[in-house]
């Protein structure tokens, strides 16, 4: 047997550095906990933030390398650092940086007293980073499961009845999705003898999709599993329950970070399949996209709890973004990133607003944590908070000049440029339907009289300076997005274009 001889140079370990930083951070937190227990959560929060900032630094390094040297491969060509990987890691790490300070609440919550929470959080980040920075189906799977298992635990740690329900539900569905994923990957491996997406694409194209039946079987399984992750209808059933069970902070996090990771994998997988002109696949995706946008909107209309409404709204937004994957042009893929960055700010803000109004116990007139009537007449008692929340709702509805309008604008434009006229109209009309339920919250806040016995302090009962800062950042990002669109768009388009998407 020959000795294995690998030079350190060829491993190109720098491609691994952004993922390794949170892992080191997580291990350090565990070590600190064993050495000296009982430290306050503030210490762990700040420590996590510092590691996330280091992670961001490593990402900036990768991105400058990418803009000069192009796509990097590393670690036996398993890692793939292209524009998509870098952009999506920016979203993942950036959103994590803004979400982790939400742990600094004024009320005590069970989960934040465990250092393991923060270790799991950092593991989760690195899991998502692995997921987007490779086109190896096995490493995607490893990243996906690392992240998901950490996330299930984090949700369960919230320590409410509904949280356990949510975690179990998410876990079961996630396990099913994992099974589908491995089965789908197996089919593709059997067909092409490779687990690398670009290899699979090359082999399939070389024999001109001779085994189309098997390709479709594999595609269906992968679509189902990724559909679970990004909550496309009909694989969405877990979403509202899990969002309701998780704390508002984690629900907001779940509406952004796992989904962008899922979209990147979807993009890598389906891009070549769509461009292979397998008509059947395009029809299925079209139907799923339209169904996801429309049906989720219908369900959101009838919700009585704001968090559940936001859960359905995030399903609808996922459908909107999935349209970009289906359209598959450079413009639409750039629109996906633009949309998701703007969506992150808005959703960060709206879920944080729910989070700061979180009560320990429910008064009689409220049947859930964030029922609509809790916000009735908020303009009289907490005018600034009501105006800020209204701005987030208007942004979600796509009212200009707030952030998400620009995302919708570019997304609909990309549909038009690619010839999907009907889809563009459906997207526009869905935004109009969605307007109704966002407006419903605004109506409650600005136009109704407050419920009797409602104490005006609840709207910011959980607030601390850190939480207010996060909301401030989200508000500024939502209102002044129009200044940042141009540089952002140019940056994104270059990166997406140079990665060949």
């Amino acid at each position: 047997m020959e000795p294995v001889n690998v030079s350190l140079e060829s491993l190109n370990l720098v491609t691994l550095s952004p993922m390794l930083i949170p892992i080191v951070g997580a291990l350090l937190i565990l070590v600190i906990d064993t050495l000296k227990g009982g430290l306050d959560k503030t210490m762990y929060v700040v420590l996590s933030m510092l590691f996330i900032i280091l992670d961001l630094g490593a990402l900036f390094n990768s991105s400058s390398v990418f803009s000069t040297a192009g796509t990097m491969m590393g670690v036996f060509d398993v890692m793939l650092i292209d524009g998509l990987a870098i952009l999506s890691q920016f979203i993942i790490v950036g959103a994590s940086l803004l979400f982790i300070p939400l742990a600094l609440t004024s009320k005590r919550f069970h989960e934040f007293s465990y250092p393991e929470f923060f270790a799991l959080f950092l593991f989760m980040i690195s899991g998502f980073q692995f997921m987007v920075a490779t086109d190896n189906l096995i490493l995607i799977f490893v990243g996906l499961e690392t992240a998901s298992l950490a996330l299930y635990t984090i949700i369960a740690m919230h320590n409410r009845d509904k949280s356990f329900e949510a975690a179990i539900k998410y876990f079961t569905m996630g396990a099913l999705a994992a099974g589908f994923y491995s089965f789908g990957s197996m089919v593709f491996y059997a067909l092409t003898g490779s687990v690398e997406i670009n290899q699979i694409a090359t082999v399939l194209a070389a024999n001109d999709y001779a085994d189309i039946g098997y390709v479709l079987v594999g595609t269906v399984f992968l679509l189902a599993s990724l559909g679970f992750k990004v909550s496309l209808i009909p694989f969405h059933t877990w979403t509202p329950d899990v969002y309701e069970g998780a704390s508002a902070a984690m629900a907001g996090y779940m509406s952004i970070v796992p989904k962008i990771a899922g979209f990147i994998v979807t993009m890598r997988l389906f891009e070549f399949l769509i461009h292979s002109h397998v008509v059947w696949l395009e029809y299925v995706l079209y139907a799923i996209v339209v169904l996801t946008m429309t049906a989720a909107n219908m369900w959101a209309l009838v919700q009585t709890d704001v968090k559940r409404m936001l859960a359905y709204s995030s399903i609808s937004h996922a459908g909107f973004v999935m349209a970009a994957v289906m359209i598959g042009t450079t413009q639409s893929n750039s629109a996906l990133f633009l949309y998701w960055i703007l969506f992150s700010f808005t959703n960060l803000g709206s879920f944080s607003m729910l989070w700061i109004s979180r009560q320990k116990s429910l008064p009689d007139h409220q049947d859930s944590d964030h029922s609509y009537n809790k916000f009735a007449g908020m303009i009289n008692t907490a005018p600034v908070a009501a105006v800020i929340m209204s701005i987030f709702m208007l942004s979600l509805a796509g009212v200009p000049p707030f952030a998400l309008f620009w995302g919708k604008l570019y997304m609909i434009s990309s549909a038009i440029s690619a010839g999907y006229t009907v889809l563009a109209l459906i997207m526009a009309l869905n935004s109009a339907i969605a307007g109704y339920y966002y407006l419903k919250l605004i109506v409650y806040m600005l136009m109704k009289e407050p419920v009797k016995g409602m104490s005006p302090t609840i709207y910011s009962s959980n607030a601390t300076l850190s939480l207010k800062t996060v909301i401030g950042i989200a508000t500024v990002g939502t209102i002044f997005a129009f200044i940042a669109i141009n540089p952002l768009l140019e940056f994104i388009t270059t990166f997406v274009y140079n990665s060949g998407y």
Partner: protein, 517 residues
């Protein structure tokens, strides 16, 4: 400073509104009046600096916003938009000055100032996306005004108003994105600048689809006949100030947008759709006049009469010649003044009696003579009596359409007569006869604050009725250039013949102004 006067005009109220949060609520009314007076002064200065002889855009400014996608913050005014901007600042000024005792007055004044920003923005925007931003943004303050200060069904009315318009404008947005895409196909560059789009000549079938997309957005805003159902609700529930601004300015956004977008961008489609739209407009005029006659609530009468007048504005716009379009622009101003004043007048009586049902009144001319006089003048203006502001606009609009179709013009004329019937009969119910209801006997007549709003409106209504030239001439110049552009761009022989080139018949518009006197 004149280079950026439009930006100042747009953003001064916004800045003032934000500072308004600091002001104590006892002093906010004076603050609001001061700010809106400054805003009106800036608008008057704009008029002073405006060159009425040139037809093109003036005070243009442009700042790149998203240059890689062709979106620039481009502003400019011509004779068509400048007077609506001045009117909007004026209506806001008198609206704030005459605001009655209402709850949360601070929120109201801040909202009105933000609304003022969006109104100037819509009429000054020369970039489709900037236009769209202000167009959509104007919904939010109005939603709040109706929803927070309105009548018992205010929430239903405000949501209906918002969703109706929002849906229409999203379809319009798709149309705008298509325009930009076609522009990109033709030139290789993205652009949302309206003046760039003017240079684009589209095949007729594309024009038809795009015209339809824009039409849905504009027609809901106007509101045109099948889409008008939100308006009576909005007016019925809105507080006085809300109705005044809605009728005087916000509805004009739709008709203005027809002239700014639909006609010059799609001349062939405009000719193609001329008759269907004219028929819709005439249905608006006659049908809503009949509905107005059946109303028991005086505010609903005026709301329906608004729809009816908007029908004549649409008719004039789609006459597609200089007389018709100038007339419709002038009628927009006239209707803004007159309908605004009428809603003010209804507000006056509602403040005193807290009812708007006509059967509750009668013989008010005895107890409130000054009120009856002003109401009478405004009602005469509303039915289009000669020497009042609406006469000029209505006459020119109908004259314009007369050149396209005599029969339809005749029908529209009948509609105006029906309009006179219901207005006169409402006036009779309110003011003549003996005082039957004791509650009306000792009603106080108009007070100073209300006079401050109504006297200037009355003066304008008569002054521009007698001597419309200072306003009509700049409008005419700009409309001529738009009609010329349409004539040059028209491709089908039908469109070429329907849209006359104003250069050949330059004498006719001036003579029609003479007749209008």
């Amino acid at each position: 400073m004149v280079d950026h006067i439009l930006s100042i005009l747009i953003f001064f109220p916004l800045v003032a509104a934000l500072f308004g949060f600091i002001i104590n609520k006892d002093s906010i009314r004076a603050y609001g009046v001061a700010v809106s007076a400054i805003e009106f002064a800036i608008a008057l200065w704009l008029w002073f600096a405006f060159d009425g002889v040139t037809s093109g855009m003036q005070f243009m400014e442009s700042i790149p916003l998203i240059p890689s996608f062709g979106i620039n913050y481009t502003l400019g005014v011509d004779g068509i938009s400048i007077f609506i901007i001045i009117l909007s600042t004026f209506v806001t000024l008198i609206g704030i000055a005459s605001l009655g005792e209402i709850k949360n007055i601070k929120n109201m004044i801040i909202t009105l100032l933000i609304l003022q920003m969006t109104m100037s923005g819509v009429f000054a925007a020369l970039d489709a996306i900037v236009f769209y931003v202000f167009w959509e943004l104007s919904l939010v303050p109005m939603l709040y005004i109706i929803g927070a200060w309105g009548g018992p069904k205010r929430i239903y009315a405000s949501i209906k108003f918002f969703l109706y318009t929002f849906t229409g404008s999203l379809v319009m947005l798709v149309g705008m994105l298509f325009m930009a895409y076609f522009y990109n196909q033709a030139t290789g560059q993205w652009s949302f600048a309206i003046l760039d789009w003017y240079r684009l000549i589209l095949p007729e079938n594309f024009q038809l689809w795009l015209f339809a997309a824009f039409f849905i957005g504009f027609a809901i805003k106007v509101p045109m006949f099948p889409f008008h159902t939100w308006l009576p609700y909005a007016h019925g529930q809105a507080p006085t100030i809300g109705s005044v601004i809605l009728a005087a300015i916000l509805l004009k956004m739709g008709t203005y947008a027809f002239i700014r977008f639909s006609l010059p961008l799609f001349p062939d489609a405009s000719v193609f759709f001329m008759y269907p739209i004219a028929v819709l407009a005439i249905i608006m005029v006659i049908y809503t006049a009949m509905v107005a006659y059946a109303q028991k609530d005086i505010k609903q009468v005026i709301a329906y009469s608004s729809v009816s007048h908007m029908g004549i504005i649409i008719l004039g716009t789609f006459a597609l010649n200089v007389e018709g379009i100038s007339g419709s622009v002038f009628l927009m101003l006239g209707h803004g003044v007159v309908a605004g004043a009428l809603f003010f007048l209804v507000g006056v009586i509602y403040d005193r009696r807290h009812t708007k049902t006509m059967s509750e009144f009668g013989g008010l001319a005895h107890s409130m003579p000054r009120y009856a006089t002003i109401f009478g003048i405004m009602m005469m203006a509303s039915v289009g009596m000669p020497l009042t502001i609406n006469f000029v606009g209505e006459f020119l609009s109908l004259l314009g359409f007369f050149k396209q179709s005599q029969i339809l013009t005749l029908l529209a004329g009948v509609g105006i007569i029906v309009g006179a019937i219901y207005m006169l009969s409402s006036f009779k119910k309110l003011f003549y006869g003996e005082i039957t209801n004791e509650a009306n006997r000792n009603l106080p007549d108009i007070n100073k604050r209300e006079l401050f709003a109504l006297i200037p409106l009355t003066i304008i209504a008569i002054w521009l009725g007698i001597y419309p030239k200072p306003v009509l001439e700049p409008i005419n110049n700009s409309v001529e250039s738009i009609v010329q552009l349409m004539h040059d761009k028209a491709q089908t022989p039908e469109a070429k013949s329907r849209i006359p080139s104003p250069l050949k018949e330059l004498t006719i518009p001036t003579s029609s102004i003479e007749e209008a006197h």
